[in-house]
């Protein structure tokens, strides 16, 4: 398993043990390096001191050629098992005395070398001048020591270091197992809580807070976040419930409104039928006889007035005046009717009927022929307005430009709801008669 997949407990324990091991290793390496350097220095210093002592005691032996005394002096070195060889050279460079007796020639240099101590050939060797204070040099002392003392100490230190490292690592492992819980437990608790929230979608659970450190602050923040999510969920559920209730109420209102509209439409249909009957009655039953009476009376006056006496002419005039007064009465009655009709259909100004045309071309033709102006001149009343095709209410003939002249355009608009049901000559006739009855002008349809 990869390191990143380890449980956090194992990670922390491994980290602590690794860090402890690394620290111990570096410390041991530094200590071993220092000890090796120190041992070499100490061994060299010790051999140097030993050489100076022997050299100082060998002066008389060399000065007075006492070989036995020199050998006796050198034999004292047997107390040091690491001394490989010791040689006294006289001032001529000849071997004066040597230790041990019969030492091998490869260990003893034939001639003394430069003064000083140095590591050479796996040994520590040194040439110490033998001289009495303030006098000439009497000879040279050669000492050779193996490095077993260094290696022995180094091996012992290594064993001790390994033992200490093993004990320290074991202690670090045990301590880390105890201490890692202070960090891993809050994290594990958070992870467990997050898992519960994720699987159950339960935002009411809370992570236990185990301390006041940063992990404690993290736990608080996590719990607060869960609380906010829980509150928001509660609010969302409440809003959804209210929305459902509102939709239901609004639907009910719409259903009622539709019902009202259906009733209004039925009433309008009935009113339209009554209006049809009324208009027909006005235009045919009332105005047509009057118009005939007035017309024929006028013909009589104009064509046959000379044949009538004054009383006949006065009678005809009276007939015309009465018919015209009757027409005025009918006009007033129709005006009253149209006022109610306009209020009924368009909701606009009383007596104002808004007729819709089809195209700007149609408007131009209307203006060119001044036919629309005749409507506009009508005092109570009809005003024809030509509007663009896009706003046209035409449902029947807009696809046929040939039929959309100025006359047909007058069938649309608020009045269109009423007039649209009549097409062709029937509609033309109804409107013509209506206009003719309402206005004093004869419309040239």
């Amino acid at each position: 398993m990869a390191l990143r997949d380890w449980p956090i407990k194992q990670k922390m324990t491994a980290m602590l043990v690794l860090i402890s091991g690394l620290v111990l290793l570096l410390t041991s390496a530094a200590f071993a390096g220092y000890q090796y350097w120190y041992l070499r220095q100490a061994t060299r210093d010790a051999l140097s001191v030993r050489g100076r002592i022997i050299a100082a005691n060998s002066t008389a032996s060399l000065a007075f050629s006492n070989v036995a005394d020199a050998r006796e002096l050198l034999s004292a070195l047997r107390a040091d098992r690491h001394i490989v060889a010791a040689v006294l050279y006289d001032k001529g460079g000849n071997v004066f005395a040597a230790y041990p007796a019969g030492v091998a020639g490869d260990v003893v240099p034939a001639l003394p070398g430069p003064d000083g101590y140095r590591f050479e050939g796996g040994r520590l060797i040194g040439f110490q001048p033998v001289e009495e204070a303030g006098s000439q040099r009497l000879g040279t002392l050669y000492l050779a020591s193996d490095l077993e003392a260094i290696y022995d100490t180094f091996r012992l230190s290594g064993v001790i270091g390994l033992a200490v490292m093993a004990v320290a690592l074991l202690a670090a492992y045990l301590v880390s197992r105890v201490l890692q819980g202070t960090i891993s437990q809050p994290i594990l608790a958070l992870a467990e809580t997050a898992q519960v929230v994720s699987t159950r979608q339960d935002y009411s659970v809370r992570a236990p807070k185990l301390g006041q450190d940063e992990l404690g602050a993290l736990t608080d923040a996590f719990n607060q976040m869960l609380g906010r999510i829980e509150d928001q969920n509660r609010e969302l559920r409440r809003y959804a419930t209210e929305l459902e209730q509102r939709v239901e109420a609004r639907t009910h209102e719409l259903q009622q409104s539709n019902e009202t509209l259906r009733r209004n439409a039925a009433e309008l249909l009935a009113a339209n039928q009554e209006l049809d009957a009324f208009a027909y009655s006005v235009s045919h039953d009332l105005r047509a006889p009057l118009r005939s009476i007035d017309g024929f009376s006028q013909i009589l006056l104009e064509d046959y007035g000379a044949q009538l006496d004054e009383a006949g002419q006065d009678s005809l005039r009276r007939v015309r005046t009465a018919s015209q007064r009757m027409a005025t009465l009918i006009d007033d009655l129709l005006k009253l009717f149209l006022g109610g009709l306009c209020a009924l259909f368009g909701g606009g100004e009383a007596g104002h009927i808004r007729l819709r045309g089809r195209t700007s071309g149609a408007q131009r033709r209307v203006q060119g022929t001044n036919r629309l102006g005749k409507f506009q001149a009508c005092p109570f009343i009809l005003r024809a307005q030509v509007i663009p095709p896009a706003q046209c209410g035409c449902q029947h003939h807009c696809d046929d430009n040939s039929h959309h002249d100025q006359r047909r355009s007058m069938f649309y608009g608020p009045m269109g709801g009423f007039l649209r049901r009549f097409h062709g000559d029937a509609a033309k006739s109804i409107l013509f008669q209506l206009m003719a009855g309402l206005c004093a002008h004869r419309l040239p349809f």
């Binding site: 050629s65 005394d69 001529g92």
Partner: protein
């Protein structure tokens, strides 16, 4: 440098006298070197040293067995700041200033009289006369199977306020006639 000179002089003298005097010449040379070396292992009382640069005098009373070898040996050498000087005396009365005195023959055959004249003077007396140490001398050269050994009587040295190094005493045979 001084060592080289001493070595060269030793070799030259040895080469010159080898044929004529043989082993005897070597013995004299060794004794000459020993005389020179005594200066390294003996301390004189301060009153015996006029100044720090006064020569350290090696005197020879009577016959001189060393010839020029002793002069060559000490030439250019110093003990501290004191140079060495070799002087030869025929009579003990001639000895005015001396630090190491080798008593040669025939005077060495009667050392008591000379030693009595030199009693308590800070002079290291040396001789190869028989039983010189037992007879009141300080250092006696003893020839034993071609080797020269030393016999030292510390009592007259103490009386003369001379301090003999223990190193020298270790390589020598200490003679105490009074039995102390």
């Amino acid at each position: 440098m001084a060592l080289l000179r001493v070595t060269a002089a030793l070799l030259l003298v040895c080469a010159a006298r080898l044929g004529a005097q043989g082993a005897r010449a070597s013995e004299a040379q060794v004794k000459a070197v020993f005389l020179f070396n005594f200066a390294q292992f003996v301390d004189w009382p301060p009153e015996a040293v006029p100044d720090s640069q006064a020569p350290l005098v090696i005197g020879i009373l009577g016959d001189d067995p060393f010839g020029d070898f002793l002069d060559a040996t000490v030439r250019g050498e110093h003990r501290g700041a004191r140079p060495f000087a070799v002087r030869r005396f025929q009579r003990v009365e001639d000895i005015t200033r001396c630090d190491i005195l080798f008593i040669g023959r025939p005077l060495a055959d009667r050392p008591e009289e000379i030693l009595a004249r030199l009693k308590n003077r800070p002079i290291l007396t040396v001789s190869d006369a028989d039983q010189f140490a037992e007879r009141g001398g300080m250092i006696h050269f003893v020839t034993d199977r071609s080797r020269i050994r030393l016999q030292i009587n510390p009592e007259p040295a103490d009386a003369a306020h001379l301090t003999i190094s223990s190193k020298l005493l270790r390589v020598a045979e200490v003679i105490t006639p009074s039995g102390r």
